[in-house]
C-alpha cells in the first residue's frame, strides 16, 4: 500500500491509533510553540504517543503484533512529514514577516576609504611593467648642480637646447669642482642616469621616478613641479631595436595590446638617435579629435640611444657599451588616461576629486 498524501489520514482500524488522526490533520494550523509541544507529545522519546504505541507492540497479541507495528510506523512517518512541512512553512512565514518591516533599499553603512593619488597609480603601473622587463627602481636628489642636470648630459653651454629647460635656481653659491656648478632644481630625472652610471658599472637597467621642476607658472597644462619617470638600459649589444621593442611592449601593456605606436625623430642632447614615441589617441583611436589636435596620435614619451658624451662623462666604455633611455610625464599621462582637463586638479587636494580615484570606483578611459 502506498502512502500518498491523500490517504495519509485514513483510519488504521486500531482505535488508539485512529484517536491520533485528528491531531495529524490539525498540524498544518499549529503555531510555532504548539508545533514544538505537539512534536514532543507525539514523537517524544520518553512520553510520545507513538513512542508509547511502539513500545506496546510486544504486549499485543502475537497475531496482531506485526500489523499493528507497521501501522504505527506508517503513522509515525506521516506525523514526521507533517511536522517537517509545517515547520518549513512557519520558517518562511517568519522570514517574510521580518522582512516586511525593513526597507532594504535604504543606504548602507560605509567606512571611509582612502586612495592613492591618481598620478601614483599611473606611476606604479608604469614601474610594474618595467619591473617585468628586468628593471629596478633608482632615485636621486631633487636639488642638483649644473653639471649633473646639464653638463654631463651633453647640454652645451650657451646652446638653444637650454631654452627647453626653464630652470629654477637655488639662491646659494655654486658648488666647486668638476661636478659642481650652480645649484638648481633638477629639470628632469635624467641626472639620475649620470649618478647611476657613475656608481654602477653596466649592465644597468633602471627606472627613475621623481619630481622635477620648471620655471613655468601654473596654467591648465603647466605646473612648476611635476613627476617624471626615466628609464635607462646600458649593456653590451643594446641597440635601437631594443629601445623600440621594449617601449612598444610597454605601450601595449599600458594601453591595449592592439594600440598603434609610432616613433619619430626628435632631439635631446643626451640621446642620439633621439625619438618621440606617439601612441594612437586613446579617445578617437586614430581618427582625429580635439584631444589629439586632429592628428590621431598622443605624444607619450621621449627616448633615444644614450649619447656617447654621457658615457665619456661617466667613465663608461662607449665602444663596448651601448644603451637607451626614455622619459615620460606621469602627470600628463594621468590627465590623458582619466580625461582630466586641468593639471591644477592634481595639486588642489580636493576631496571631491580624490574620491573619484578610489579603487573599484568609476574610472573612464
Amino acid at each position: 500500500m502506498s502512502h500518498s498524501k491523500s490517504f495519509m489520514s485514513d483510519p488504521t482500524g486500531y482505535p488508539d491509533l485512529d484517536a491520533l488522526l485528528p491531531r495529524l490533520r490539525a498540524i498544518p494550523s499549529l503555531g510555532p510553540d504548539d508545533l514544538a509541544s505537539e512534536i514532543v507529545a507525539i514523537l517524544g522519546r520518553k512520553n510520545g504517543e507513538l513512542t508509547a504505541a511502539l513500545r506496546s507492540v510486544p504486549s499485543r497479541p502475537p497475531e496482531e503484533r506485526k500489523a499493528y507495528g507497521s501501522a504505527v510506523n506508517r503513522l509515525k512517518t506521516q506525523f514526521e512529514e507533517a511536522f517537517a512541512g509545517r515547520s518549513e512553512m512557519l520558517d518562511q512565514e517568519r522570514r517574510s514577516r521580518e522582512q516586511a518591516g525593513v526597507d532594504l533599499t535604504m543606504p548602507a553603512r560605509r567606512r571611509w576609504i582612502g586612495a592613492e593619488h591618481p598620478v601614483t597609480r599611473v606611476m606604479d603601473e608604469i614601474i610594474e611593467i618595467f619591473r617585468g622587463l628586468g628593471f629596478t627602481v633608482a632615485v636621486g636628489p631633487e636639488v642638483e648642480t649644473d653639471w649633473y642636470n646639464f653638463g654631463a648630459l651633453n647640454f652645451p653651454p650657451d646652446h638653444p637646447a637650454m631654452d627647453m629647460h626653464d630652470t629654477l635656481y637655488v639662491d646659494a653659491p655654486p658648488l666647486p669642482g668638476e661636478q659642481g656648478g650652480r645649484l638648481l632644481l633638477r629639470t628632469h630625472t635624467s641626472p639620475v642616469q649620470i649618478r647611476t652610471l657613475l656608481e654602477s658599472p653596466p649592465p644597468v637597467r633602471v627606472v627613475i621616478p621623481g619630481f622635477v621642476y620648471r620655471n613655468d607658472p601654473f596654467d591648465p597644462s603647466h605646473a612648476p613641479a611635476f613627476s617624471q619617470i626615466e628609464g635607462l638600459a646600458v649593456d653590451e649589444g643594446i641597440s635601437f631595436v631594443d629601445l623600440k621593442a621594449t617601449l612598444v611592449h610597454f605601450a601595449h601593456r599600458f594601453f591595449t595590446p592592439t594600440t598603434k605606436v609610432r616613433f619619430r625623430p626628435s632631439f635631446f642632447p643626451f640621446t642620439e638617435p633621439s625619438a618621440e614615441m606617439d601612441v594612437e589617441c586613446q579617445l578617437c583611436h586614430g581618427t582625429g579629435c580635439p584631444a589629439c589636435k586632429g592628428t590621431g596620435w598622443m605624444e607619450i614619451l621621449g627616448c633615444g640611444m644614450v649619447h656617447p658624451a654621457v658615457y665619456e662623462h661617466t667613465g663608461v666604455d662607449a665602444e663596448r657599451y651601448t644603451g637607451w633611455a626614455f622619459g615620460m610625464g606621469p602627470h600628463r599621462i594621468t590627465m590623458l588616461r582619466y580625461g582630466i582637463p586641468d593639471i591644477r586638479l592634481l595639486y588642489d587636494g580636493d576631496m571631491r576629486f580624490l574620491e573619484q580615484f578610489v579603487p573599484g570606483g568609476r574610472v573612464t578611459l
Binding site: 628586468g134 628593471f135 629596478t136 658648488l175 632644481l185 637597467r205 635601437f240 621593442a245 616613433f263 587636494g349
Partner: protein
C-alpha cells in the same frame, strides 16, 4: 616656424597635399603643430575682364566698366580706380559674394548708375598692402575662373616645431631639401617672377675689411663675425612690395613693409640667412663694420629702445658709433625709410654662442637672433646676397655699382667625420649595406671621401652645424631609413642587478598603510613662503609667495584643507609623502629628506541615517594614525607625549616626528584639525615572523586603579609589564573615570591584564602572587591603589 605649402611646391615643382606633407615632415623630425588654410575666403572672387570703360555720367572720379565675369551677360561695375583699363583682367567680386572682413557685395546704384559687383585691390582681398588702384592680374585664365584657381593664392600655413639641433629647417629651402630626399625628387630655388633679373657679378674676396662702392665694410671681430658680405644698391625706389612678394611673407605670418625690407625678410624665410638693409645716406663715414662694443656705448634699436652695450657684444658700427646689434636687431638711426635712395646690404655670419649671450643679456629675441644662435649655413651668404639683390632690383629698381664684397676669414669648417659601418650596426641593431649608408649621407648633403679602410670619411654640409660626430651621422642614417622600418622584437636582456631604492619601497608600504586608514594621497605644490631660517631660497622664484622650497609638508597640507573648507567640504583626510629641503653647511647642497604628513578633520565615519557616524575625529584618532605611521615609517620608533600632542623618536632616540591639533584659519562650522609629520626612515626593516599560535589558555584580570594627579597610564602600564614579566601577555585600558566617588584630582582607570604561559596552564595562585606584587609596587612607586569597592581579581 611657419612654412608655406606653396613656397615648398615652388621648390619641388610638384603639388603637395597638406595631410601627406604633415605626415612626412613629422616623420622626418619636423612635427607639424597646426595646418591653417589661407585665403579660403576668396572662393567667390572671379577673374573679371573689363571690356569697356565709360566715364560716369554723374561723377568725374568714377567710371562705369562693362565686365565679362564668365557669364553670357555682361555686368556693369562702377569703379573709382584710376588704373582700370579696357581689355585687362582684375579680381571681380560678383553680386552675392563676400570679401575678407565680411563685406557682402550687393547690387546698388552709385550716383544713378547700377553697379553689379566690385573690382578689387590686393588689399581689399587681404593679399598685401597695395590698396592704390585695383589689382591688375597677369593671367591667361578665362574670365569667370575662380581667382584661387587662376593664381597661386590659396595656400596652407604649416606651423612646425623645429628642434634646436636643426637650424637648417628654419628656412623653406632646408625643408624642401628634406622633402626632396624623402620624395626622391630634386629641389631648386623657385624662379623669381621676372624675365630680366639684375646682373650680380661674383663676390670679391678681400681681407677682413674692404670697400664696396666707397663704403668701408667688414669685420674687426672675426670671432663674433667671421664672415661679412656687403653690397651697395643705388637709386632704389621704396614702395609697397608687389603682390607675389607680399603674399609670400604674409603666408608665413610676416607683415609686408616695403620692397627693400621685404626682400631681406624673403631671403631669411627662404634661405635662413638673416640680412639687413641700411640707408646709405644715414651711414657716417660711410662705413659698416662688425666689431665688439666699447664700454659705455649705446644704440637705439629699431623698436625705439636705447640699449646699453658692453664688450661681450658684437655690434655693427659706422664711423660715428653703433648702428645695430650684430645678429639681433638693427638700429633706428640707419633704418630704410620711404625716402631712402641708396642702400647698403649686410649679409653676415655671426657666431651662435655670442648672439645667444647678447640677446639674453639684452632680453631681446628676434627672428634673426633665433636663427643665428642656432647656426645658419656657414657658406650660404653668397647665394642669399645675390637673391636679395635680384629681388630688390625687381621690386625697387636700383643699380649695383660694384660687385659685392666677401670679408673676413670665414667660419671654420668642421673636421671630417669617420663613420664605421660596424658602429652603425652596433647602435641601430640592423645591418645595412655600405651603399645604403652612403646614399643616406649623400641625401642629407654630405660629401663622401674615399678611404682605404672600411670607414667612410664624411664632410658634413655647411648648413648642418649639428653634424660633428659619428653618432650624429648614425642618427641621420636612422632618420632617413625611417624609424618605422626598424624591427621591434624583444631580444634577450640581462635583468638589473641593482637593488630597488629602499626609500621607494618603503614609501609604497607607508602609502598603502595610510590609504588603508582611509586617507587620500595628495601632491601639492612644493614651494611657498619662508618657513624658518633653514628654508632654501630660490634665486628666480615664480613669485614672492613661493620663493622658498618647503621645509615641512604640513603647511602645504593645511592649505589644501583650507581649499576643501572653501568648497564646503568638512570631512578631509589627506596625506603626502614628499621631499623637504633645508639649508646645509656652506659648500654643501641643501639637505633633502623624505617626509610623511597627514591632516584630518571632520567625521570619523560617513554619516548614516541610522544615527551612527556623527562622531568627530579627535585626538585619539590622530594618535592611532600617528602610531600606525610611526610603525610603518620608523623601525623601532616610539611615540611619546610632548606638550599638547606627541612626538616620535627613532631607535637612536632622535625626534623624527610630531602630532597634535593644528592651528588653521577655519570656518566657524569646521571641526578641529589634527595632523602629524614624520621623517621617513629608509633603513632596513625587520621582516615579520611567524610566532606559534597559543595552545594554552589565558587568564584575564581587571584592575580598577586610582591614579593621583600626574600619574600617567603609561607609567602604570610600564610598571605592570616590568613586574608581570613574560607571563603578562598584554595590558589594555578599559575605561577612564573621573568624578563622584573619587578623591578630588584623581581618576579611576581600569586596566585589563591578560596572563599566559606558553607551556602550561597558569594556576590562580601564580596569578594571585603576581597581582599582589604588582599592587605593592604600584602603591610604593606611584601611590596608585585599587579603587575601593572593586572586587579583587575580577574587576568592578
Amino acid at each position: 616656424m611657419n612654412i608655406s605649402r606653396r613656397w615648398l611646391e615652388d621648390f619641388l615643382r610638384r603639388p603637395l597635399e597638406p595631410r601627406d606633407l604633415t605626415e612626412r615632415l613629422t616623420m622626418l623630425g619636423a612635427p607639424v603643430d597646426s595646418v591653417q588654410p589661407l585665403h579660403a575666403e576668396l572662393g567667390d572672387v572671379l577673374v573679371g575682364q573689363v571690356e569697356e570703360v565709360r566715364p560716369h555720367p554723374n561723377a568725374d572720379r568714377l567710371r562705369v566698366c562693362i565686365v565679362n565675369g564668365g557669364t553670357a551677360e555682361r555686368r556693369n561695375v562702377v569703379c573709382g580706380a584710376a588704373n582700370v583699363m579696357a581689355g585687362r583682367k582684375y579680381p571681380y567680386a560678383p553680386v552675392g559674394s563676400t570679401l575678407p572682413g565680411g563685406l557682402r557685395i550687393e547690387e546698388r546704384k552709385l550716383r544713378g548708375e547700377t553697379s553689379q559687383g566690385m573690382l578689387c585691390s590686393a588689399r581689399e582681398l587681404g593679399l598685401g598692402q597695395d590698396g592704390e588702384g585695383i589689382w591688375e592680374l597677369d593671367t591667361d585664365a578665362a574670365p569667370g575662373t575662380r581667382l584661387l584657381d587662376a593664381l597661386p593664392i590659396a595656400d596652407h600655413r604649416l606651423v612646425l616645431d623645429i628642434g634646436p639641433n636643426r637650424p637648417d629647417l628654419l628656412g623653406h629651402k632646408g625643408i624642401a631639401r628634406e622633402l626632396g630626399a624623402s620624395l626622391g625628387v630634386p629641389f631648386r630655388l623657385p624662379s623669381l617672377p621676372s624675365a630680366e633679373l639684375i646682373d650680380v657679378p661674383p663676390v670679391r674676396r678681400l681681407g677682413n675689411t674692404g670697400k664696396v662702392a666707397g663704403v668701408g665694410a667688414g669685420t674687426e671681430d672675426p670671432e663674433g663675425c667671421p664672415r661679412f658680405l656687403g653690397a651697395v644698391l643705388r637709386g632704389v625706389r621704396i614702395a609697397a612690395s608687389p603682390p607675389w612678394l607680399a603674399r609670400r611673407l604674409e603666408a608665413v605670418g610676416v607683415r609686408a613693409i616695403s620692397n627693400v625690407v621685404d626682400a631681406t625678410n624673403y631671403v631669411m624665410l627662404e634661405l635662413n640667412q638673416p640680412m639687413h638693409a641700411y640707408d646709405l645716406a644715414k651711414l657716417r663715414g660711410p662705413s659698416v663694420i662688425a666689431r665688439r662694443a666699447r664700454p659705455g656705448e649705446t644704440v637705439t634699436t629699431l623698436d625705439g629702445v636705447s640699449r646699453a652695450l658692453d664688450d661681450s657684444m658684437t655690434i655693427i658700427a659706422d664711423d660715428g658709433g653703433p648702428i645695430g646689434i650684430a645678429g639681433v636687431m638693427g638700429g633706428a638711426a640707419t633704418e630704410v625709410g620711404t625716402d631712402t635712395v641708396d642702400v647698403f646690404l649686410e649679409c653676415a655670419y655671426f657666431a651662435p654662442a655670442l648672439v645667444r649671450r647678447t640677446r639674453r643679456a639684452l632680453n631681446l629675441s628676434t627672428e634673426a637672433s633665433y636663427r643665428f644662435e642656432r647656426g645658419i649655413d656657414r657658406w650660404g651668404g653668397v647665394e642669399a646676397l645675390r637673391r636679395c639683390i635680384e629681388i630688390i632690383g625687381m621690386t625697387a629698381g636700383g643699380e649695383l655699382v660694384e660687385a659685392p664684397v666677401d670679408l673676413g676669414p670665414g667660419p671654420q669648417n668642421p673636421a671630417r667625420i669617420f663613420l664605421r659601418p660596424s658602429r652603425v650596426a652596433q647602435v641601430l641593431g640592423v645591418d645595412m649595406p655600405g651603399h645604403a649608408l652612403e646614399s643616406y649621407l649623400v641625401a642629407v648633403g654630405a660629401t663622401l671621401v674615399p678611404k682605404s679602410d672600411d670607414r667612410i670619411a664624411v664632410e658634413p654640409p655647411s648648413w648642418r652645424p649639428d653634424l660633428s660626430r659619428e653618432i650624429d651621422l648614425i642618427e641621420e642614417i636612422a632618420r632617413l631609413h625611417g624609424y618605422q622600418n626598424f624591427p621591434a622584437d624583444l631580444r634577450a636582456f640581462r635583468p638589473s642587478l641593482l637593488a630597488d631604492a629602499t626609500i621607494e619601497r618603503i614609501s609604497s608600504q607607508v602609502r598603502a598603510g595610510l590609504v588603508r586608514q582611509g586617507l587620500f594621497e595628495v601632491m601639492p605644490h612644493p614651494m611657498g613662503p619662508q618657513d624658518g631660517p633653514q628654508s632654501v631660497r630660490l634665486a628666480n622664484p615664480l613669485s614672492s609667495a613661493e620663493s622658498y622650497l618647503r621645509r615641512r609638508l604640513l603647511p602645504g597640507l593645511i592649505k589644501l584643507v583650507r581649499h576643501n573648507w572653501d568648497q564646503h567640504v568638512g570631512d578631509v583626510r589627506l596625506f603626502e609623502i614628499g621631499t623637504v629641503f633645508s639649508t646645509a653647511a656652506a659648500g654643501e647642497p641643501p639637505h633633502e629628506e623624505r617626509h610623511i604628513a597627514a591632516v584630518l578633520t571632520g567625521r570619523r565615519e560617513p554619516p548614516h541615517w541610522s544615527g551612527t557616524g556623527e562622531d568627530r575625529i579627535d585626538l585619539w584618532d590622530l594618535k592611532g594614525l600617528f602610531e600606525a605611521a610611526v610603525a610603518l615609517a620608523v623601525p623601532g620608533g616610539v611615540v611619546q607625549v610632548e606638550g599638547s600632542g606627541w612626538i616620535a623618536r627613532d631607535a637612536k632616540d632622535r625626534v623624527v616626528g610630531s602630532a597634535g591639533p593644528l592651528e588653521a584659519d577655519a570656518p566657524p562650522w569646521a571641526d578641529p584639525l589634527f595632523g602629524f609629520e614624520l621623517v621617513l626612515d629608509a633603513g632596513a626593516r625587520t621582516p615579520e615572523r611567524f610566532s606559534p599560535l597559543p595552545i594554552t589558555p589565558s587568564a584575564e584580570r581587571v584592575f580598577a586603579l586610582v591614579l593621583g594627579p600626574g600619574v600617567t597610564a603609561q607609567q602604570v602600564k610600564d610598571l605592570l609589564q616590568r613586574v608581570g614579566g613574560p607571563l603578562l601577555e598584554s595590558v589594555s585600558v578599559q575605561s577612564d573615570y573621573r568624578g563622584a566617588g573619587l578623591p578630588a584630582g584623581t581618576r579611576s582607570v581600569a586596566f585589563q591584564l591578560t596572563f599566559r604561559a606558553s607551556d602550561r596552564t597558569l594556576r590562580d595562585v601564580e596569578i594571585d602572587e603576581i597581582e599582589r606584587r604588582m599592587l605593592a609596587a604600584l602603591e610604593s612607586e606611584l601611590r596608585v591603589v585599587r579603587r575601593v569597592g572593586s572586587a579583587p581579581g575580577s574587576g568592578e
